[in-house]
């Protein structure tokens, strides 16, 4: 198979995986955070929910919990990861509604959600 075709196939597969992940996250969001349902689970990040996060997100969330509102760069300094990587993790946590973000001047800050 020519290299270009192979790359295209990989790209298509990756997009498929991405959309599946998005559906999973959206599905989970509906399942967990639907406020219309009784017995709704909290949308602030408690320690037991934090423990159930995958390793990489847990490290990011724990760091944010310890230092309070911070930029992706500040989190990355503590976790020794690239800023772009932490930014992606933080945004995943935002999509999961565990973290919220806000802008102050030119900087974007992330903080653990509070109810």
């Amino acid at each position: 198979m020519p290299e270009d075709e192979l790359l295209e196939e990989i790209l298509a597969e990756l997009q498929e995986i991405n959309s599946k992940l998005d559906r999973l996250l959206t599905g989970k969001k509906e399942m967990v955070f639907d406020p219309s349902k009784k017995g709704n689970i909290a949308d602030s990040l408690d320690i037991i929910t934090l423990l159930s996060l995958p390793d990489h997100l847990r490290t990011t969330a724990t760091t944010l919990l310890e230092i309070g509102p911070a930029t992706a760069e500040e989190v990355a300094e503590l976790t020794s990861k690239e800023r772009a990587v932490e930014s992606s993790y933080l945004n995943q946590l935002v999509r999961m509604e565990h973290v919220n973000k806000y802008r102050e001047g030119r900087k974007v800050y992330f903080q653990i959600n509070e109810r």
């Binding site: 689970i41 909290a42 602030s44 990040l45 408690d46 320690i47 037991i48 929910t49 934090l50 423990l51 390793d55 847990r58 490290t59 724990t62 919990l65 310890e66 653990i112 509070e114 109810r115």
Partner: protein, 248 residues
């Protein structure tokens, strides 16, 4: 920076409070500024040892109604310690305990934030060592304290149940939270054939404290302050030194 120790165990009755209180005493005696907090808010103990004239409790700090400074009491003079010795007690009133049991995950989430803020406040107050006396097993308050700590002292006894539960908690709580842990074997019976271990579940066993009746009968005093030559006190001083070596 304030160094926080969570004294925790998988099962009840392993001697957490006794070790937490005496360790706090040992640190304060040495000249360290210490704060001991009763995080076992469903089964408070420290009020019965220290009998504080408290207006506010650890419960109020966790709820965010009061800051840590309103919650803690200076007992340095009473115990004649070289360093500052602060204690924060949980409210023993049953209606308060019932209130805690009703709290939901949102409350627990903000309690963790308040605990982390309290630690930062204590750092500004030049507290060197913060000790959390926790409730056994996987209770929200205990796991919050573990999350807010820098090291976990696992107080362990020789029962089979304690052994298997500890292994579970190491794998399911301490390791995912990347906590530095050490094990203290407490109430060891000399007549049982147990080999002395240096490591268990991959974690350093830093002490093996023998079972002594007078440690139980004299639980209204802090042996590390009242009888420094006692075998139990000697064990606690040694634990303190091992912890310091682990910190390096």
């Amino acid at each position: 920076m304030t160094f926080a120790l969570a004294v925790h165990s998988s099962k009840g009755g392993t001697g957490k409070t006794c070790i937490a209180v005496n360790l706090a005493g040992a640190y304060a005696l040495e000249g360290k500024n210490v704060c001991l907090l009763d995080i076992d808010i469903r089964g408070p103990s420290l009020f019965s040892i220290f009998k504080p004239e408290a207006l506010f409790w650890v419960n109020d700090m966790l709820s965010g109604k009061r800051g840590i400074k309103d919650t803690i009491h200076d007992v340095s003079e009473e115990f004649g310690t070289k360093g500052k010795f602060f204690i924060g007690c949980s409210n023993p009133d049953i209606s308060e305990i019932r209130e805690i049991v009703r709290k939901d995950r949102n409350w627990q989430s903000s309690a963790l934030k308040n605990l982390i803020s309290a630690k930062k406040e204590l750092d500004k107050k030049n507290i060197d060592i913060l000790i959390f006396d926790t409730s056994p097993g996987v209770e929200y308050e205990s796991i919050n304290a573990v999350a807010a700590s820098d090291m976990v002292l696992i107080v362990h006894n020789s029962s089979i149940a304690c052994n298997s539960c500890t292994e579970q908690i190491i794998g399911g709580i301490y390791t995912p939270l990347k906590k530095h842990c050490v094990i203290i074997d407490n109430m060891c019976h000399d007549n049982t054939l147990q080999p002395s271990e240096e490591k268990r579940f991959g974690i350093d066993v830093i002490a093996r404290i023998p079972c002594m009746c007078d440690v139980a009968t004299r639980n209204d005093e802090i042996l590390t302050l009242t009888e420094r030559d006692h075998i139990f006190s000697q064990n606690i001083y040694s634990i303190k030194d091992r912890i310091e070596r682990h910190r390096l």
